[in-house]
Subunit: 150 residues, 6 copies
């Protein structure tokens, strides 16, 4: 029989300030990246739409990822840097909780990139969303962790 | 003033059978990939959990991506292939609709990968989710499109 | 390896009018049942609250049950019959779809009963929700089915 | 006993193209309206955020309004006109369905106004959201209806 | 470039008891208001349905309003006063949080009014939802605020 | 007029560790139960799917049951014991909150059973979900309660 699926019990852990920073890249034709940067897309201002989608998705993390605990995020920040043939997206999430916010930061980054993709897909079907990873986390028993090479 | 944000009007388009296939990779330490493959993770059977999360997320696409139209998917298929230092995830979505299902396939792939990440993150914080892209789409006015190099 | 989880593909099936009728019972102390019937509960009019919760839950079925297809219900009806030491709840759901609505009727019945439970639980912790089952289904290739002994 | 709550059965009605136009006003200090218009708010570009919130809310109408049928909107359009001491918000929703889309247009208008309120509430707590009403509806058995004095 | 959209960081603020009271009016034909008051509507007991919709919407505020923080409301109260040609709706929300609950009270009021509208719209298409505003807020650094003329 | 619907105010109660254990049974043909146990179902590994559905539903309790307060569960555990002609499902939920988690445990149990039903309904339409009840609760002012005969 398969191993049963189990949520980690965080009831005995105290709440501390948690932070996580994640990153992802959207790779596309440089003309598409310029259109994103300049707000010249047929569907409208893509960066604002993508930031909001990322913030909203961070709040939905426990609904999307089955074993995530419901958290009350105190801050979500989504930055989009269009540059050449890519947009670099960096998300930062904080919460005072008994478990970390890595998944919230990763879900925000991923959804921001997917929203940019949706708003530009009529221009370039070959786009790629790539290098989604955690850059840094802090708070909690395991302390601060930083990615060695981003 | 910024360009207003607009949903594409698909009211005049007829419904046809649409299909999209997407792909993503989770890169991790080979021991983590082996633990995923063999169902030996502390949180339990990761591939089943990730498949379900991917299927559920496909159904939530219009809630996550602001300008997506609500669709009734008729099929969502999520395959996870653990191999060496990565898991390759391939998703296939179909629907009889007046707009395509690319975003549904991409959202399913991304959420499947994020769920595998969540179930293994205590073993390897440096994992990356990468190369999320569309492999193929068919149906609708623009016809069939296939990625030249997957 | 475990058998992969798969949504049934309903893309090739035509839409027909589907109906399903489900039933469930809430068993409690007769005084609790009388308070439900007479609208004398501290939290207020329980049957109206429970009917609405059941209707709302039917619309959420595909979000709750992983392999259910998203459907557009055209009607949800929830009846509550308080009688002696139980409330009998009967739900009826219809939709013009390519798959049946049994799960919608069962989810509506179950959520109606749970809402009545929530509104009365301070009076009787020992209540039971029991005999949740399908009474009848019609429409679709498999035709009409009726439960032999309800 | 109170009258039972009932969803209208729309199973026998054919699908036709439905449209509804709704309107609402946000009244505030002219300095607040100017800050909205010029994108000078501490929380950022308010009109883009409010448009997206309105579009997303239209898609959630059946989740918010208990007896609404789940619909597949084919288009949602949200316009915000800042002018003097108010922002006039006009929403337009279309769908090919067997029931109207008035509630979707009203929910979109209301949520757009509430989002503008949220993004400016630190500047003026006395703001009012007012005159939320239907301007026009078309499609369906009852034909076209237009408000006599908007 | 447009100003980026940012959630306020409330991580450094302590939790205190917050309360907000909001109000809205539904204006309609006096016969419609009487039918609401007397529970004589075709869709059933409208005030109970609208109260539940308002309570449920308060809990969904962070999902509807993009920059709202997820909160745990400890109480939501919705009162509907049918009177002449209007229903006055007053909502009260409390929570022990590091940010206020004004938006929760306003969202509850707005959704209650929209639900009454939905349950009566077949009788009077010209109804208006008007004067949605905050009456009072307390708790938090900025202290108590009361509307000068409701 | 009917009694108004009211959420209990839990703002003045302190947070304590709460736990609830619930149970439900799915009764079906022994061949169906064996297929669940052995993972031989057409839709795939049913117990993993049902466990995840139960965990996800526990997190959605306040969305499903109108007067439930939103809670942050710290642990949800779902066990499925296939045996002869039934599967016994036991759920355990914990949270540090000012109100109990009985409804979360019951909603998890009910949704787990409904998911098993969905994955096997093509084999046996006559299945029953029965004896959903609370086994035990602890924490809070009313102390520990245990069911006398499970």
């Amino acid at each position: 029989m398969t191993r049963p699926i189990r949520m980690v019990d965080v009831g005995a852990k105290g709440a501390t300030l948690r932070q996580a920073i994640a990153k992802v890249e959207l790779h596309a034709d440089p003309k598409v990246i310029a259109a994103i940067r300049d707000g010249k897309l047929p569907k409208g201002e893509a960066i604002a739409a993508a930031q909001i989608a990322g913030i909203q998705a961070a709040k939905k993390t426990a609904e999307l990822i089955p074993l995530c605990h419901p958290l009350q995020v105190t801050h979500v920040d989504v930055d989009c840097h269009p540059d050449g043939s890519k947009v670099i997206i960096v998300t930062k999430v904080t919460a005072r909780e008994s478990t970390g916010v890595e998944m919230e930061a990763l879900v925000a980054a991923s959804t921001t990139a997917l929203t940019l993709y949706d708003m530009t897909k009529s221009l370039d079907r070959g786009m790629r969303i790539t290098n989604l990873c955690l850059l840094e986390k802090s708070g909690g028993r395991s302390g601060t962790w930083k990615r060695s090479k981003p």
